[in-house]
């Protein structure tokens, strides 16, 4: 038990969200993308920049956008100049960490209205390929000599999970099929594939066995934003605020090879912290809709188990039974997820928070889940399979 009870002063609500297109090689600059998302979130809340007290920026490695001091650079795009602005960064977990950090600002009483923006532009700066950025994140002694890349460490994790839980590639491919089909309802989606089948996934190019091309989300450019407000302000702004009920984040050891790869402990701990704050003791029953992080298809299953939305090794069964479909009993990644909408890293995590916001307001349009939803969850994961970030929201 590492998480403790959290004392906070103010209830905090999300009152607006915005999202750009997710695409490879968008022509807008990172600053422009940040502003497009920020403006949309402000418009949704009926606010302007003048109303915003503080700005929180989230972005993954500087090397993607090719700009060191990316926080300062993006803050300018997002409207953070002459305001208290800060950037947070926990690798792929950043997108959900942005509203967590924005929550501190409001819950502490320091700010009343906060703009939280996440941006990533992966197509231009990293040469010869985006993956090359990840050559500089490893332990210099043990891992560097193996010339690791992200795909092969996840292949190891996927393989161990498959072995320990007796999961077949066919079961895992179902996640990719579901999410790429779900994405067809999303106006930002990069990879809507309405007719994709399990067979297509199983026949796609082998990158690092057992990972194949359609097991992975694409590299993308894009930005997302949300506006957070104190209770008093939120009630003035909207009749339908979505409350942040719980937040959690934890870090596990960088020496990922020393861990049990079949189960994401970093997610469990982060979820436990968020659940305690939200008063959730049976997530499977109390969470109505969830957006777990799905840069790879097996990660959706892995994370569902870490979040307690399925028992250990049970997520593939729920998936096979259709429970996780948009019209199922526990819709998982109704947005289309990273597999379908795309993966501009930090923006992808915040996209999930935006999706839960829209789902809980009943504003998800073609993507609206069938059952009535009152409590939702978004989760992201990053660094060397070690950082977990969780947010629980409710109406």
């Amino acid at each position: 038990m590492t998480s403790r009870n959290i004392n906070f002063k103010h209830r905090v609500a999300v009152v607006g969200a915005g999202l750009t297109l997710f695409r490879s090689k968008l022509l807008e600059t990172p600053q422009e993308l940040a502003w497009l998302a920020a403006k949309q979130a402000l418009d949704e809340a009926g606010l302007t920049l003048k109303d915003i007290d503080c700005v929180v920026i989230g972005s993954a490695p500087d090397a993607f956008d090719g700009v060191h001091m990316k926080g300062e650079y993006l803050a300018e795009g997002a409207g953070g100049i002459h305001k208290p602005a800060v950037r947070v960064f926990v690798g792929g977990a950043t997108g959900v960490f942005v509203p967590i950090a924005a929550w501190w600002h409001v819950a502490s009483g320091l700010c009343k209205k906060v703009l939280a923006v996440a941006e990533e532009k992966m197509s231009h700066a990293a040469r010869p390929h985006t993956q090359y950025v990840f050559r500089y994140i490893w332990d210099p002694i043990v891992e560097k000599p193996l010339n690791p890349n992200l795909i092969w460490i996840f292949a190891m994790e996927m393989h161990r999970y498959m072995y320990k839980c007796g999961v077949k590639k066919e079961d895992i491919a179902l996640v990719s099929v579901k999410n790429k089909r779900n994405a067809c309802g999303h106006p930002s989606a990069q990879l809507c594939m309405p007719d994709i089948t399990v067979d297509d996934v199983l026949k796609s190019e082998v990158l690092v066995w057992p990972v194949q091309l359609y097991d992975i989300s694409p590299t993308s450019d894009g930005a997302a934003a949300v506006v957070l407000a104190s209770e008093e302000e939120a009630r003035r702004i909207t009749d339908t605020p979505v409350w942040i009920k719980g937040i959690g984040w934890t870090l596990d050891t960088t020496h990922w090879t020393n861990r049990d790869l079949a189960y994401p402990e970093y997610v469990r701990r982060a979820a436990e912290m968020a659940y305690r704050m939200a008063g959730i003791d049976n997530p499977r029953k109390q969470i109505d809709v969830a957006e777990p992080y799905d840069p790879f298809d097996y990660k959706e299953l892995h994370h569902m188990e870490g979040l307690g939305l399925a028992k250990k090794c049970e997520a593939p069964v729920l998936t096979r039974e259709g429970v996780t479909q948009r019209d199922g009993d526990l819709p998982i990644n109704p947005s289309g997820g990273l597999l379908g909408i795309g993966n501009p890293i930090a923006a992808a995590g915040l996209m999930k928070v935006a999706e839960i916001f829209w789902q809980l307001r009943g504003e998800a349009g073609a993507r609206q889940v069938k059952k009535p939803v009152y409590t939702g969850l978004a989760q992201a994961w990053g660094d060397l399979m070690q950082a977990g970030t969780v947010i629980v929201m409710g109406v």
């Binding site: 332990d139 002694i141 000599p145 161990r160 020496h255 861990r259």
Partner: protein, 115 residues
């Protein structure tokens, strides 16, 4: 404790560390336990182990020629990542071996053959 690790490799040994407080093992050897913060002591890693997981790399950077196999194997209480000399399956028995690679001493895994 990488200097100790490199010194061990020179004499054909592979070492990790074990927490004096909680018993958690660590590879590469560390000064401080990742679980409890306790002090650690060096320990020889047993020669023979079992493959926990592996990946077969088909797409890589120019430093290596695909396909090649990378694995994590369990040697006694130690989990060690490394390059495998041959194809492996989860559960296969392997031994680590020290060899010269690009002018540096490093280790790799070799499958134990049962005749």
């Amino acid at each position: 404790m990488s200097s100790e690790l490199f010194a061990a490799l020179k004499t054909g040994r592979l070492i990790g560390s074990r927490c004096k407080n909680c018993g958690r093992t660590h590879f590469p050897p560390a000064r401080r336990c990742a679980r409890c913060g306790g002090e650690m002591q060096l320990e020889e890693i047993p020669k023979r182990g079992v493959v926990l997981t592996f990946s077969e790399v088909y797409v890589s950077s120019p430093a290596f020629t695909p396909p090649y196999v990378v694995a994590i194997a369990q040697f006694g209480d130690f989990k060690v990542p490394g390059m495998a000399a041959d194809k492996v399956e989860i559960g296969d028995e392997v031994e680590w071996e020290v060899a010269d690679r690009h002018g540096n001493l490093w280790y790799f895994f070799r499958t134990v053959k049962h005749y």
